[in-house]
């Protein structure tokens, strides 16, 4: 005898889908507000300050876009892997290694014109970021090695490697003992367009590129099929190992590109903080966007607002910026929970029938 009965839904209208999602996000904000209230903060003021901090002036809007760029590109990378149900949580490490490769070009190659230097840095970043993802992908394809832990451990290896560069091998002697790597020469810095570095154009191009790749190319389709059912893919004669490796190299390559943009346009040198948690936040944004490239774009802008607003409240309300992480996590919890109501309907169970029967 059960209180509630659960049945699978077979038809969901678009409208219903949006109502459920909107309700989930609204509830998550209410819930996040309650958490804030426990810590004696006024949730309305916090949310308002996040909005002001992210959109309140031209400079802040620029800051928000600067944060959105790496998040969008990384999320696209995560999307390609997750579409295949390959849980790439190594975005941080792939960003880091991409940044390392771009920095190598910037710091150790002879001076060259920007039109040559920037594509070369980007290429190096994509290749090395892709290689960092290729290692776990190859083991997954050959031996079925668990990719979740593998990609994650690769993050730590990359972080320790860059720490080694920053504190030892590449430390700038001119920095008077500060553990810093020398700033990039001018020719290795990204130019600006409309007062913003050109990373935003790259991000938009990547969105369009990944959208078309996943939707209209054979390889993109194969990635989706492998994600839905390996058996189907095998039956259809796809080379699954190849699909896994290609998808992961694209995934890591995009993350690497995000790393290149971070070093060339934002930080202007390599440092341990370069990945800035984007590799993890991108998992949330990619999933919230239901692994759709166009939605990724919009979700990432909202999340960049949370990040930028979070940094602003730290200064303004003296609230730790980690509030933004708590709010992000809460939103995803509720959206994850809401998926259930899209797939199943909850009906009164046999217990209620018995009650009715007894009354009658």
């Amino acid at each position: 005898m059960n209180l509630l009965r659960i049945a699978k839904r077979d038809d969901i209208s678009r409208k219903f889908e949006w109502v459920v999602r909107a309700a989930a996000i609204l509830l998550s904000l209410v819930f996040a507000g309650l958490i804030l209230m426990i810590f004696k903060l006024n949730p309305l003021e916090v949310f308002k300050t996040i909005l002001i901090g992210s959109l309140g002036s031209e400079m802040r809007i620029h800051q928000t876009i600067i944060k959105a760029v790496p998040l969008i590109i990384t999320s696209l990378g995560i999307l390609v892997a997750f579409k295949m149900k390959f849980w790439n949580i190594g975005g941080e490490g792939q960003i880091m290694m991409g940044a390392f490769a771009a920095s190598y070009v910037a710091l150790f190659f002879p001076e060259m014109p920007k039109v040559l230097a920037l594509p070369l840095m980007a290429l190096a970043a994509v290749l090395v970021g892709g290689f960092w993802a290729f290692i776990p992908a190859a083991f997954k394809a050959r031996m079925g090695t668990n990719e979740t832990i593998f990609t994650l451990m690769m993050n730590y290896v990359a972080i320790k490697f860059v720490t080694y560069l920053q504190y030892q091998a590449w430390m700038d002697p001119a920095a008077k003992g500060f553990p810093k790597i020398a700033p990039f020469p001018e020719w290795a810095l990204m130019p600006k367009l409309f007062g913003l570095h050109i990373g935003w154009i790259i991000a938009i191009l990547c969105v369009i590129g990944v959208y078309f790749f996943m939707k209209y190319t054979k390889k993109g389709y194969e990635i989706t099929v492998v994600g839905e059912s390996v058996e189907t893919a095998r039956y259809a004669g796809m080379n699954i190992n190849r699909v896994i490796v290609i998808a992961m190299v694209i995934s890591g390559g995009l993350c690497g590109l995000a790393g290149m943009i971070q070093v060339s346009a934002v930080e202007k040198t390599l440092s341990v903080g370069i990945s800035g948690g984007y590799g993890f936040t991108a998992i949330i944004t990619a999933w919230l966007a239901r692994l759709n490239a166009i939605s990724v774009f919009f979700v990432c802008i909202v999340f960049a607002m949370l990040l930028q607003g979070g940094a602003y409240i730290q200064v303004n309300l003296n609230v730790p910026s980690a509030v933004a992480n708590v709010v992000q996590g809460t939103i995803l919890f509720f959206v994850l929970g809401s998926e259930f109501f899209l797939q199943y309907r909850v009906l009164p169970g046999s217990w209620w029938k018995k009650m009715k029967g007894e009354v009658a």
Binding site: I6, A7, K8, F39, W87, I89, F139, M143, G144, T145, N146, T148, I149, F150, L152, M153, M154, Y156, V157, K160, F161, T163, Y164, Y167, Q168, F280, T281, I283, I284, W287, P320, A322, V323, A324, N325, V326, Q328, G329, T330, L332, F333, L336, G337, E339, F340, Q343, Y344
Partner: protein
């Protein structure tokens, strides 16, 4: 050598709690990747409770509660609402990381309350502590370490020698058969997710209260993920988890040791060793194909009775 091994045990203890916690969760058929997050929630709750109450017992209870609280979110989402376990676990880690640095902000740099610190001072066990070699390594430790030994033994006995342990393994191996034989599947899953979360919380608390007795928001520093890998390494057996944890504890302090012995290796590169070793272990375990070494059959699958 004895002192090195004794330090290994100290480094192993947080891993041990988290590994056994994740192991119990996985035995129920759930892959909770939120270990890192639950450890952080446990660490911050334990530290805060210890600071305010000056009671070690309350600190431990708060750590358990914090870890279990995180696990409850996971349980509701994956068991009741059947959300994707991988994504839910990752979100729990992100949430826990944010939660710990948010809640812990005012305590940054604070020391563990003196009474709590004294409670966790090293105490030699009578008789056992005098055994040559084993005594100094295993039995001249703090109370928390002893609690770790108890947890391992209890977990092994529970899983392999008791009726609920048998039922639990049935749930993880074949959920629908377990359901058909009258086991309350949802109850078992909830109970063991919470139990696992509480243990992860304790693992985090060990780091914050004993290992690094000053609050810093990155106390856990990837150990939660190493614990997830150790479960695979231990092929879902608590006793092997004990050995694995000591091995990893040893690897994590090897760098300092080597430097003390005069090897000129960069500390930053030596710091990579535990993570590289984890990768090697994951690769090796994907090669082991014995019947004993397999994960629970229904690990990671959502269970929906009507779809049987």
């Amino acid at each position: 050598m004895e002192s090195f091994l004794a330090t290994c045990i100290v480094a192993a203890t947080p891993l041990l709690f988290a590994t056994v916690g994740e192991l119990i969760t996985e035995k129920a058929g759930l892959l909770n990747l939120g270990v890192e997050g639950m450890m952080l929630i446990g660490a911050v709750m334990g530290f805060m409770a210890g600071l305010h109450s000056e009671s070690a017992v309350i600190a431990l209870l708060a750590a358990c509660g914090g870890g279990a609280g995180g696990a409850l979110i996971f349980a509701i989402l994956t068991v009741t609402l059947r959300a994707n376990q991988v994504v839910t676990g990752l979100t729990l880690t992100i949430f826990g990381t944010g939660f710990a640095s948010f809640v812990g902000q005012p305590m940054l740099g604070a020391m563990v309350a003196p009474k709590v610190g004294a409670f966790f001072a090293k105490k030699t066990l009578p008789l056992l502590g005098d055994i040559p070699f084993f005594g100094p390594v295993f039995f001249r430790q703090d109370v928390f370490v002893y609690l770790g030994y108890v947890v391992v033994v209890l977990a092994a006995v529970y899983l392999y020698k008791t009726k609920p342990g048998l039922n639990l393994r049935a749930v993880g191996e074949n959920t629908s058969s377990a359901d058909a034989s009258g086991i309350n599947v949802a109850f078992y899953k909830y109970a063991h997710i919470l139990m696992g979360g509480a243990l992860c919380g304790l693992g985090g608390a060990y780091l914050a209260l004993v290992r690094v007795p000053i609050w810093q928001s990155d106390v856990v520093n990837g150990r939660g993920w190493i614990a997830v890998a150790l479960v695979i390494f231990a092929s879902w057996n608590p006793l092997k988890a004990f050995l694995g944890a000591i091995l990893f504890g040893g690897l994590s302090i090897l760098g300092l040791r080597l430097q003390a012995m005069g090897f000129s290796i960069s500390q930053y590169l030596v710091d990579m060793i535990p993570y590289l070793a984890t990768i090697i272990i994951v690769i090796i375990s994907s090669h082991k194909k014995g019947k004993e070494n397999q994960p629970p059959m229904d690990l990671g699958n959502s269970y929906f009775r009507e779809e049987r």
